[in-house]
């Protein structure tokens, strides 16, 4: 047969990050996709040898710039668990707020990029326009737009005042209104549906067995979300996962869109129940972490797992990070064959690939 071999990436305009897919194509139909990773591999897990466990917060935040809060949160929760540190309630609620803000910005980012992947440039622009508002909130409440560096072991670093909180509420109202205006296009437009419905189908069974996580898993009808475990303050906020059943790119799109709205709702609830008090437990004098733990949280892209092992020294023995994209790449490899070349960006982006997460 007449095979075309295409090096897709590492530098490729539809891929915001470098990953290489060797695509073998027949008349634009993909018959094989072999990934090549390692373009973003830094080896930061190994930095645990030379950075102490406090400094590692800043390192793990930079595993991925889009979900830095949640990386740090997962890491801190793990350390807190080993060290037996209790986090003040206000800090737990603030952690939820910042996590959800991050989820919104990540999902908005993704919705934009996804729109771009099927060539809907103006929609991309609109989502990113809305996203800037969230970036403003981040910047105002934490001091930085992207890598907010707000989690510490034992709590959070910033304590927004009531006026700031009110401002945040007003801002997310605006975001919600803007999003509702875009909902019709993103979920109902003929061309959008034509490009996403039935593309990259992952059945419930496949998604479960291939270890898909996050919206990919929930788009296939499995109601599993690490937030259900109730870490931080989620247990008190009556969290419900968003589930769609079709398992195609459209379903994932819908899951993410609905999750964005759900996150806005969660922020509102978290803010309404925000207790007063301290935001940071002093950990001076507690022995450095000794023991091992596994901590899981829900990133925008899915479930994130940290395996931490310490032996009572300032540096940890092992920091192992299993990021959601890492888990979603095998499903991607299963999804790609059989689609057309023009669907590659759509299917690839539908797992919301975060390569810097994957390779660390």
């Amino acid at each position: 047969m007449r095979k075309t071999v295409i090096p897709f990436g590492p530098q490729h305009p539809v891929l915001p990050e470098p990953i290489h897919l060797k695509l073998t194509v027949e008349d634009e139909r993909i018959i094989e996709a072999i990934p090549n990773l390692g373009y973003v591999h830094r080896g930061l897990e190994r930095l645990a040898d030379i950075r102490d466990f406090h400094q590692m917060i800043q390192v793990v935040e930079r595993v991925c710039g889009i979900c830095s809060v949640i990386h740090a949160l997962c890491y801190c929760q793990g350390i807190e668990e080993i060290m037996g540190v209790e986090v003040p309630p206000r800090a737990r609620y603030l952690r939820v707020m910042w996590s959800e803000l991050h989820r919104i910005q990540s999902h908005l980012l993704w919705l934009g990029l996804f729109a771009d992947s099927f060539g809907f440039e103006s929609l991309f622009m609109q989502f990113w326009r809305v996203r800037e508002k969230i970036m403003d909130i981040s910047e105002a409440t934490t001091g930085n737009r992207v890598i907010v560096s707000v989690n510490v072991i034992g709590g959070v670093r910033r304590n927004p005042d009531p006026e700031q909180i009110r401002w945040v509420l007003a801002q997310i109202d605006w975001v919600e209104a803007e999003l509702q205006r875009l909902e019709d296009t993103m979920l109902e437009d003929y061309t959008v549906k034509k490009r996403t419905v039935g593309k990259g189908v992952l059945t419930r069974q496949q998604a479960y067995e291939l270890g898909a996580v996050g919206p990919v898993l929930r788009g296939s009808g499995v109601a599993q979300d690490a937030r259900q475990t109730g870490y931080a303050a989620y247990g008190e906020l009556h969290f419900e996962p968003v589930v769609e059943t079709d398992g195609d790119c459209y379903a994932r799109n819908k899951v993410r869109f609905r999750e964005t709205l759900a996150s806005i709702d969660l922020i509102r609830r978290a803010i309404h129940r925000l207790p007063d008090g301290e935001v940071r437990t002093k950990i001076k004098g507690i022995k450095p972490p000794q023991g091992e733990t596994v901590n899981r949280v829900e990133q925008p892209r899915g479930e994130l797992l940290y395996y931490l092992k310490g032996s009572g020294q300032k540096t940890l023995d092992r920091v192992r990070i299993r990021t959601p994209t890492f888990a979603n790449i095998p499903p991607l490899l299963v999804m790609l064959p059989g689609h057309f070349l023009s669907d590659v960006p759509v299917v690839t982006l539908s797992i919301d690939p975060c390569i810097s997460c994957t390779e660390r």
């Binding site: 075309t4 071999v5 295409i6 090096p7 490729h12 305009p13 539809v14 634009e28 729109a115 771009d116 992947s117 099927f118 060539g119 809907f120 440039e121 103006s122 929609l123 991309f124 622009m125 609109q126 326009r129 296009t185 437009d189 061309t191 959008v192 034509k194 490009r195 057309f340 070349l341 023009s342 669907d343 590659v344 960006p345």
Partner: protein, 283 residues
């Protein structure tokens, strides 16, 4: 003789100037639709001059040849339009340019360029018959293929060829490389084919293809004017509305794939043109 020379000159100048301005307006309008400010009006000219002054890098020397052939054919087509020549002939000459562009892209081994070239061929396959049928529509209405006769026709053509105008709209959208038909190459970077057809053209050669594209755009808009050739105002309004709709469509649709394009454009386009042509034939 002088008149001919003036017309030739007009054609040669109108292409880059009008085409560039239209392209600049297009970019501003697009930006405004996306809630942005957008570039200055003269931005396309800056781009082209800059590209012309860049270091020539080539992947395959034949690309240079093809780029020149493309712009030559595109400009000849426009000049023929200004000389009020035969409409069918103009499209044939225009097709030469399109083919050379494709051949140039095929001469690179990059799969992106090659696939872009093939998609461009499929685009040609989609719009070429439609253009011929539009021309046939003019013939059936006016009894001539010559632009002199068509422009001299006393009634606005749009009233008799409304469906063919829509069909021309399809062709125009494909030619302008607008969504949903921006398959082979696209004005925006984020496309699975990188820049498709134009991936391996660079520097001055890219500038040539861009100028050639302007020639083609002006030519296509010129064909649009035929639909309301009786008054300047009608012509201007028709052009403005058409172009606005083109930009709008670009901004409210996503990019489709070529299978959809082929079936949609042929299906809808051929049906519409047949309906219109049969109407003309009977009426």
């Amino acid at each position: 003789m002088t008149e001919t020379a003036v017309l030739i000159l007009c054609g040669l100048i109108a292409g880059p100037v009008v085409g560039g301005l239209v392209s600049g307006l297009d970019r501003i309008l697009t930006a405004r639709m996306q809630s942005r400010i957008g570039p200055p009006l003269l931005q396309p000219f800056f781009d082209v001059v800059k590209l012309l002054a860049k270091e020539p890098l080539v992947v395959n020397v034949w690309q240079a040849f093809c780029a020149y052939c493309y712009i030559a054919a595109a400009s000849i087509a426009l000049v023929l339009f200004f000389l009020q020549s035969d409409l069918l002939l103009i499209f044939f000459v225009q097709a030469v340019g399109a083919v050379f562009l494709v051949v140039g892209a095929l001469s690179s081994t990059s799969p992106y360029s090659q696939i872009g070239a093939h998609r461009e061929l499929l685009q040609i396959l989609s719009y070429e018959p439609l253009l011929v049928l539009v021309v046939v529509g003019f013939y059936l209405e006016t009894g001539s293929f010559k632009l002199t006769d068509i422009y001299a026709w006393p009634h606005p053509m749009l009233l008799k060829l409304p469906f063919l105008f829509i069909v021309l709209g399809y062709a125009l959208t494909i030619k302008l490389r607008k969504s949903p038909f921006d398959l082979s190459t696209c004005h925006h970077a984020h496309q699975e084919l990188v820049k498709g057809l134009l991936t391996d053209y660079s520097g001055p050669f890219l500038a040539l293809t861009e100028i050639g594209h302007w020639f083609e755009v002006v030519l296509m808009l010129g064909v649009c004017t035929l639909f309301w050739a009786t008054s300047w105002i009608g012509m201007a309004v028709l052009l403005a509305v058409t172009y606005f709709l083109e930009v709008l469509v670009d901004n409210v649709t996503s990019r489709m794939n070529w299978r959809w394009m082929l079936s949609y454009v042929w299906g809808v386009g051929l049906t519409l043109s047949l309906v219109n042509l049969i109407w003309l034939h009977q009426g």
